[in-house]
Symmetry: C2
Subunit: 543 residues, 2 copies
């Protein structure tokens, strides 16, 4: 008989692209989400938690990665029932597709408009990479059933409030708003229908930052010799067509130049009190416009000029005009509530990848600078985005249902708060009551009970108490602020030893300095004063 | 050519056995979990959020339903990489199996003992039934690496604190503690090794409530004629063996009778001040023991007698003796911290289904009565359970790692809090500012802005404002406490109308009563007093 093979041990590993979150990573995220939920709730949004599992049919194929329409999700087939093959199920890849399904399913019992927020993990079946996980959190707010751009403006205002609520100060973020209809209008004016030429134009627009105005003119016209010497065929548009694209791409620059002029004139004629030194800088580069004070006081010049330029550009397209009108209305609604260009700006370069957006799109960017992995300064960048999508519910019901919403990148925003020192860094560990005599466990439990009733996080050491050093190592690993010791001698004398571990660590670090040596980090107090002394030390540690 | 078939619309449905949670269902659960987390944190437990997806290999097969070892989970296979077939992945079915994997994977970076809590959804691939869902929440706390029963006692105390923290009053719950080793000791004393006979005995023990002592004697011996007239073969044990089982099953009864005697004597001799009327009831039925006062004051008689009876029963089994010793130690540790038998009791009938428990097991039951779906009174029942499992980590590492923990049935506990009126019932909806003039949207936005800055939940109506009735219907569906109205006339006069919708509904209900007719439910106030008046009405509504 063959020798029975021993079952190998299972590997203790998360699947590729998944990870575990420990302690503060979990609680800091939970607290941030609570704060976000508080703002959403104040705005009248209702919580929704849809199931993590959906039918593949209901989810649809709205992932950005449209090249692999059947991939991108974790999916499996249910067992068949008799002749009937089982449904294909999948984990949700975002919170918007499930919302469309929920609204279509429950619409008779939901108010219209339906404002809802949702927060939770989503899953993407993608090749994992560094810092790229296959499970991550999203936090969305959407308004379904409201055709008016007042709903879009509300989302933008709420996004601004949310960022400030979680701890991003005003001036450190900007919400940019655009409208898909403006770009559609531009393409319409050029006489481009859906098709290859149109796609080529969109791809070229994306290259503007790299190749500049001249490069775009070549790429859209007769072609261009790129840096490597290779010749790239042009799209073959007419000069008139190309002028429209370039006009769109340079609208921001032109608006900026005009508003510098407007602003200078206003200051000169005493109609504007903005400091002269700022005006004198305005010629040279765009930087002052990133100063919140400038944006707040002079941003309206810029926005008005920009809207005028865009309006002229899409004059012949009804859709384009609607787009500009909507942007203007959003701007007015926001301004009336005090959300000026220091917080929310119109920006025609905002695109947002997802194909389902049909109107206004928005993006929140953090403008403070961080150092990237190569030590270079750069802006922190985007932490949230969204827009209007009027066709998602229609898939189910046949009727168009207008909807608009925003999704916050939870992990990005958390990282930003860590950068700003808004979270982390506080004493996290519990007071550890050490075990000097394992027969007196009840005494030690009594101490932690007292501490907890006073609201102080505390625990008894539950490992093998033989080696006191191990207990101290444990307290260290737990990042404990304080250890409590009561041996037989202390018990007899009715006292306890209280060790300030934070101070102890500082003393150890500075062992060579005389003044540190003198400071005691261990205190003997009567047992009855345990809670009082612990509280006093914790207060001193600032926790 | 065949006519092209139109793509059918996707069905807007959750997959079978899944559901969506709306508004308060989500927020009430989140608030309860926050409160639980607060207690866990106070006890020194650290949050852990492991990934929802695990390899099938790491999850193992610990589902209660051992007859279908490969089923019970939602699983799928990863794409193959070259020749290497893809891993099988699955959604976690509980929070304990992932903890074992996490501890084995990260043990070098975790403190020992490692106290952690986790809360989140788990998934079971089971046939859905009424009230039975394939995704539900669990909320666990476990201590890994602590062999001492002090860890088990701590979990029981924490469970008791947790129930009180979320709003279950003392006296309305009981935590029952048993030890697997006691039952193992009973079987050892009977001379039964693992095998068919032993399984038959365990099955018969489960039937005790139905067939009583005589029935158990017949089933374990020569056999029994059941109610339908069919003859059931007996297990064929000796009378001595059967006596041990029956002794175990009747231990609680015997302990109760003895403690009634003890208690009566103590009251008679003036050693106990428990009321005479309670003692006079003790003969007739067990009910008084369910009174917290009786359990608190006299429960120690019962527990001491019970432990003596069990100790005698398993006298010849080392494991059994250890089991009773551990129960006694848990009882002492808890008593020293004030957790008496009014909150936590020893109960040998607690079994807990899962095969992986190796020592103490515990269960929290809510003792208040509810009406079941047939209108019969019954106790609310179990809301949490757990125990010691010393072998789960060993699967990965080969080394036994002692662990103990508890899992709270989140949905059951929420249902209990609703029964007790601890959650729900408050005004949830936002103040709705109606739109009388769609060109003055900015005015209305201004109002909600003011209300929100005062901390009052508020929104502008964003649907089609043409029909005012629809706006009121919307406010009704939103359960709004107040509607604000500002038409052209009000605007001119600098006032707003504020409708108390709660009072309005009451007036409508009582339309025939004169005194209701007189009460105004709509108030006109200067625009500047909007926030003040809204606050006043909300305060009057008790929200």
């Amino acid at each position: 008989m063959a020798k029975q093979k021993k079952q190998p041990r299972p590997k203790a590993e998360t699947p590729k692209g998944f990870r575990d979150y420990f302690g503060p990573e979990v609680t800091e995220r939970a607290e941030m989400l609570q704060q976000i939920a508080r703002v959403y709730h104040l705005y009248g949004f209702e919580a929704l938690e849809s199931s993590a599992v959906e039918t593949v049919e209901a989810l649809g194929k709205f992932l950005p990665d449209v090249d692999r329409p059947n991939e991108g999700v974790f999916a499996w087939q249910e067992d068949s029932e008799g002749d009937k093959p089982g449904d294909w199920l999948a984990l949700r890849y975002d919170l918007t597709a499930p919302l469309a399904r929920v609204y279509a399913q429950h619409r008779n019992n939901l108010p219209t408009p339906y404002r809802r927020y949702a927060m939770g993990p989503v899953w993407r079946n993608e090749k994992p990479g560094p810092g790229r996980f296959r499970q991550f959190y999203q936090c969305d707010a959407d308004t379904v059933g409201a055709p008016s751009v007042a709903a879009d403006a509300e989302i933008c205002a709420m996004l601004s409030d949310t960022l400030e609520q979680v701890g991003i100060p005003r001036g450190d973020y900007i919400v940019r708003v655009n409208n898909r209809k403006v770009l559609n209008g531009v393409l319409e004016v050029m006489g481009l229908e859906e098709g290859e030429q149109r796609d080529a134009v969109l791809r070229t627009i994306d290259k503007f930052d790299k190749v500049g105005e001249e490069g775009v003119r070549e790429l859209l016209g007769k072609g261009r010799l790129d840096a490597s010497g290779a010749y790239i065929d042009g799209v073959g548009l007419s000069d008139e067509q190309i002028d429209v694209v370039v006009g769109f791409l340079t609208a921001k620059d032109l608006a900026y130049q005009q508003s510098v002029y407007d602003l200078r004139r206003a200051v000169k004629t005493g109609k504007h009190e903005l400091a002269d030194w700022i005006v004198s800088e305005l010629d040279y580069h765009e930087a002052p416009w990133t100063l919140p004070e400038v944006r707040k006081n002079a941003g309206h010049f810029y926005t008005s000029n920009l809207l005028d330029i865009l309006r002229e550009l899409v004059d012949e397209s009804e859709q384009g005009q609607t787009g500009v009108d909507e942007l203007e209305l959003i701007r007015e609604l926001l301004a009336a509530q005090g959300y000026g260009p220091d917080r929310i700006v119109i920006d025609p370069s905002v695109v947002r990848g997802l194909g389902y957006y049909t109107g206004p799109v928005f993006e929140a960017e953090l403008t403070f600078e961080i150092f990237d992995e190569k030590g270079r300064k750069r802006q922190f960048g985007s932490v949230a985005g969204g827009g209007r999508y009027d066709d998602l519910v229609k898939r189910f019901t046949g009727q168009a249902v207008p909807a608009t919403g925003v999704s916050i990148g939870v992990d990005r925003l958390l990282a930003a708060l860590r950068e700003k020192g808004r979270i982390g860094g506080t004493v996290e560990g519990p007071v550890v009551v050490t075990v000097m005599d394992r027969d007196r466990m009840a005494d030690y439990q009594d101490m932690v009970g007292e501490l907890r009733r006073a609201g102080i996080r505390a625990e008894v050491y539950l490992g093998n108490p033989k080696n006191f050093g191990n207990q101290m190592k444990y307290a260290d690993r737990r990042r404990s602020p304080i250890a409590v010791i009561e041996g037989g001698d202390e018990k007899e004398r009715g006292v306890v030893q209280i060790k300030d571990l934070i101070l102890g660590a500082k003393i150890a670090e500075n062992a060579t300095l005389e003044e540190w040596k003198e400071r005691p980090s261990q205190f003997e107090v009567p047992r009855a004063q345990l809670v009082e002394k612990v509280r006093e030390i914790l207060d001193g540690q600032g926790s």
